[in-house]
Symmetry: C2
């Protein structure tokens, strides 16, 4: 260690390492948010404070943190998805990370490919907005050596952030039951999407069953407007329905289109209810009753969780995102 | 230069450089779509043609093709923007490129930062959906040595793909004039956005002037629903308006909200018209009259143009995207 003029002399990382009795690598880890034992951390912090040490830019550049974050999403035209993305991006940028986004277009194989690619691009961590968790996902995620947060699907072997789909579903189902509907149709999505296709759907069906509505007509659609129109026509083919529950607001808009085309009245002839809470729901007629998840906050939480993981801070395994029920005029 | 057997002999990149009197780097830039003076370019092209030069696969592989494409967008919650992105992404994926997306959240400084970053990530080319073209943009773009296509703003020194905003604006302005409106309000966006804030606006105002409507009340908003609501209230404060023209459908939805809140009738009290053509426009009441640009196709064209640039195929400097007028029931 170089001699000095007391506590104001300029010291180097090497000096700090010597003073703390650790290696230079440990000091480097300290500055780049890597894992260090708590007591070592405190010792280093004390020395830095005492000597007023400021790491120079070169040392920071030298570190392996790329400050890049990978975000993998299933779609870029989803209103809820873009709220989550907004929360994610804003948070990462505020904390000086640069997010790069890859879109899988709902192809779950691409999720795996993109995770590998992002790893090679040397991102500090990944947020995966997953459409499904396959065995291949589990295999890849297990051996992945950078932090990852799964959004949208529960992932028992890692960290995930999910909507409270079951309880939201129950609330919708019970609301429709309480309002004395009998012949209920439901536009569901494929079960591979566990969160929406299974958990949300089960919630809805359980909620309805609390009001003895057991015989629900179900049609499967994807997340598009057009596909919901097809599903609605299918549902209306067999039975007069007095309510249609949709898995997403975009589906509900497809239902509106078909119902209006047929000259049916909402909610007098058919009630419609959904999950989403788009801003447009306020100006369509009748105003759509819907469940709105706090998706902006979900994005913020997912980003903060990933940053915590990068910095070795402990996080919860699963975080459930809250929702609010927005009562419109689409249910009689 | 090696001796040869006339114009069919095999020459190397080094030979071409010597013949053209430039450095090997310039030749490399030529093959990788970087900026070269026009006359140098022509000289190189001539030599290549004369000697039938084909860059070999090894050189190509060795050259920096990463099969990654960077896409820089100003927002991820724009409906039109997501149509363009869908077209871009689909095309790149079909042609075995891997697109990575960066969102600037309308901060044009980030556009520059992200271009530099993408270059360092070694992408084969960039599509920039630009909010504005500043002097810094021009400076950076000029020295950029990978192909770039600008979407959404005209860029005279390079390749751009833009909506035919002027003519679309004229069509809207004339339509409102033809329908005998007198007191017209217009929700514009900042002039920094030349395509929408200047070209589209000028088209609208010129179209109106063809019907002697010169005194148009103008309020400035951004692209959000909330900001359009504020602008509408401002417009309605001073004058009874019989028509409000919006720069985008999202703004029109904000106008609808305010008009409905005030108990005014559309189109009897106020006509509303806009640019966008969102699918939701079909189910709001009254159905919104709007101009729909062929944005999916714009994305496809932009992707194909970039791929052509990467492969040294000649492309047009500016490509204008067509539109269709969708007549709803929001104009009396």
């Amino acid at each position: 260690m170089r001699g000095g003029k007391g506590s104001n002399k300029k010291i180097t990382m090497k000096d700090i390492a010597e003073l703390a009795g650790v290696t230079k690598t440990t000091i480097s880890r300290y500055f780049n948010g890597g894992y260090i034992k708590k007591e070592t951390k405190e010792k280093i912090a004390k020395i830095i404070k005492k000597y007023n040490y400021e790491p120079n830019t070169f040392a920071r550049l030298n570190a392996k943190q790329s400050r890049m974050i990978g975000i993998i999403v299933p779609a870029l035209d989803s209103i809820v998805g873009s709220r989550v993305l907004t929360g994610l991006e804003r948070t990462f940028r505020e904390k000086h990370y640069m997010p790069i986004i890859m879109n899988t277009n709902h192809e779950s194989v691409l999720e795996l490919k993109y995770i590998e690619k992002l790893k090679r691009l040397n991102v500090d961590g990944i947020v995966l907005s997953a459409t499904e968790i396959t065995d291949e996902h589990r295999k890849l995620l297990k051996k992945l050596d950078i932090p990852i947060v799964i959004y949208g699907q529960e992932y028992s072997d890692g960290i995930s952030i999910v909507n409270d789909d079951y309880n939201a579903g129950v609330e919708i189902g019970e609301y429709i039951g309480r309002k004395k509907h009998k012949n209920v149709g439901f536009i569901a999505v494929d079960e591979k999407d566990v969160a929406i296709g299974v958990t949300r759907r089960n919630g809805v069906l359980d909620g309805l069953s609390h009001y003895k509505i057991m015989d629900v007509s179900i049609a499967i659609a994807d997340f598009s407007y057009e596909s919901a129109m097809v599903a609605t026509k299918e549902l209306l083919k067999y039975k007069k329905l007095d309510a249609i529950i949709c898995s997403t607001d975009r589906q509900a808009h497809g239902v509106y289109k078909v119902i209006k085309e047929r000259g049916l009245k909402m909610p007098e002839d058919v009630s419609v209810i959904s999950f989403g809470g788009y801003e447009i729901d306020e100006i369509i007629e009748p105003r759509l009753s819907t469940i709105k998840f706090d998706s902006l906050n979900a994005g913020i939480c997912a980003a903060n969780t990933l940053i915590d993981l990068i910095n070795k801070v402990e996080v919860r395994n699963v975080l459930y995102i809250n929702y609010e029920f927005i009562e419109g005029e689409s249910v009689r």
